[in-house]
Symmetry: C2
Subunit: 320 residues, 2 copies
């Protein structure tokens, strides 16, 4: 799969079929009190209940299952300090092959533990993009393994597209579907799922104001550098050259939100839906609450991306 | 309904039918990683997703719907500072009648707000049992309303029994079913549901060591005074004269757990199931982890009672 046009209605349907025995068919939750508060009808797609606690299980599994027998045997490799690392290690374990995960030595111990629990082999490096890429190149040269990038990979994007496809099937006709944007794997997949399976549904993304490269890219028409001034630590990445064009063409709008708005939205989700979601996960709902008029009376689907929270951090988020 | 023998297989089935349009049919969650950790197969019945965030919606609704037309018109009354207060106010609102809720003046503002949101009228009193009972008696004398006690009421107990009945229907044959015990409304209902619908299932309760009156009552054969040395603030009540005999006869065992054990169990539920549960709610799972041998290899149903958590408190629970 080498072109964006290789991701089609049929290929996403096939991906859904391919991964279905390896992932959760996650529920869609609704809440009268949140609908009242937001002034629209909200449908929350709960990927926090997904395997490894995040939608990343979809893309990693789809990419891994799409390799040739020979590729698969030599193992899977990536650099990631987040949920993709665990998702890929899990996919490798299911396929009875190896995974090689490059992680900055500063990555939290719990993330490393998660990777090791699935039998992943970790290669530590300095916490710079250059060090990550060099280390990964060395690992691949030595092992012959195949890189599966966290987002800038068509098979990963196709896998993430299955999430919005499911949401359309579960919630019925939606006026708007929303996802957060970091590297753009989920957002590009969501945009393609809407294009093929629900063409009247507008795609709107939420992005932290403290890392608003996608917002700026939509203005400038080119990939912009991400910053990292936000608690939404899953969204600190710039768009990739594979995700950006799809997002630029198919996403209606990106709404930026502050950390205060993210925390307030996350708190509402915790309190009203009684579920645990990550900071990054609350960004689209924060965007709805910020720009209520835009969503007024609409049927709005929101992908809740993940629930891997460091509970030791939450004291300071919710202190009165 | 004036006798324990009035709660029958048929009456619980009727209660389930009576309340079904007014409550959530809550999901049952499972987790491979928690099963591994506990050494048994766990089925979590998620009443944290119930209306008003707790199983109390069942009993209150069943009791309210069972009143005569004339009783109903004059309104519902109770003293409660917890989830039952909101559950009763909600039931009254649905039935288009009034609710009179006696609350200690020290009750958290958020609980009062919850009651008022359902149109409940609050009567504040001093935070003693005597003051509560006197104030309630006055309110009833003035309004002619009917008291619906939080647990010591057969219609409430019958309503709570529908929860375990649902769990048996959802999870299939269980070796053990567990609930926490405070006043004993849920536990007595659970015991009766097991007796009628799953007679080979043993009923085991969890109780905080810092308020272990039910544990002591099982030894002494009479109601014992509750203490309040625990963070499980939903379980500070002594058993009632209607709940105790049913529990004494039908509950196999009560396991007590410390606050540290409760917090550790709650944390696991938050982290692995990605859902918000109250401290009180984690007590039975804490008992499973404490006494693993007893549950080894068994199919164990656990009622997760509620998810109404004051998020400002959680910083100190999870500090490293």
């Amino acid at each position: 799969m080498n072109n964006p046009s290789d991701i089609t209605k049929e290929s996403i349907t096939q991906a859904q079929e391919r991964i279905k025995h390896y992932i959760e068919h996650t529920p869609v939750l609704t809440s009268n009190s949140l609908n009242e508060l937001a002034g629209c009808q909200l449908f929350f797609k709960c990927e926090n209940f997904q395997k490894v606690g995040a939608f990343k299980a979809r893309g990693a599994m789809n990419a891994a299952l799409s390799l040739t027998e020979e590729e698969r045997k030599k193992g899977l490799a990536t650099h990631s300090s987040g949920n993709h690392a665990q998702a890929l290690a899990r996919a490798a374990k299911i396929l009875n092959t190896k995974s090689y995960i490059v992680m900055p030595r500063t990555a939290p111990e719990i993330k490393k533990k998660g990777v090791r629990a699935f039998g992943g082999e970790i290669f530590e490096c300095e916490p710079t993009l250059q060090a990550r890429e060099e280390t990964l190149a060395n690992v691949i040269a030595k092992t012959g393994s195949t890189e599966i990038h966290p987002f800038n990979n068509y098979k990963v994007m196709e896998g993430q597209a299955t999430c919005a496809k499911e949401l359309f099937e579960q919630a019925g006709q939606l006026d708007i579907v929303m996802a957060p944007v970091g590297g753009g794997g989920l957002l590009s997949g969501t945009a393609l799922a809407a294009k093929f399976f629900s063409p009247t549904t507008k795609v709107i993304a939420g992005e932290p104001a403290g890392s608003d490269d996608a917002y700026r890219a939509m203005q400038s028409g080119k990939i912009e550098q991400a910053q990292s001034n936000t608690i939404a630590d899953g969204l600190l990445t710039s768009l990739g050259d594979k995700t950006f064009p799809i997002i630029y063409e198919n996403v209606k709008e990106i709404i930026t939100v502050t950390d205060e708005e993210i925390i307030a939205a996350m708190r509402l989700i915790w309190e009203r839906l009684k579920i645990i979601v990550e900071t990054s996960c609350a960004v689209p709902f924060a965007a709805v609450l910020k720009d209520k008029e835009k969503f007024s009376g609409k049927r709005v689907g929101i992908i809740l991306t993940g629930g891997n929270v460091d509970l030791e951090k939450i004291g300071k988020w919710f202190a009165s």
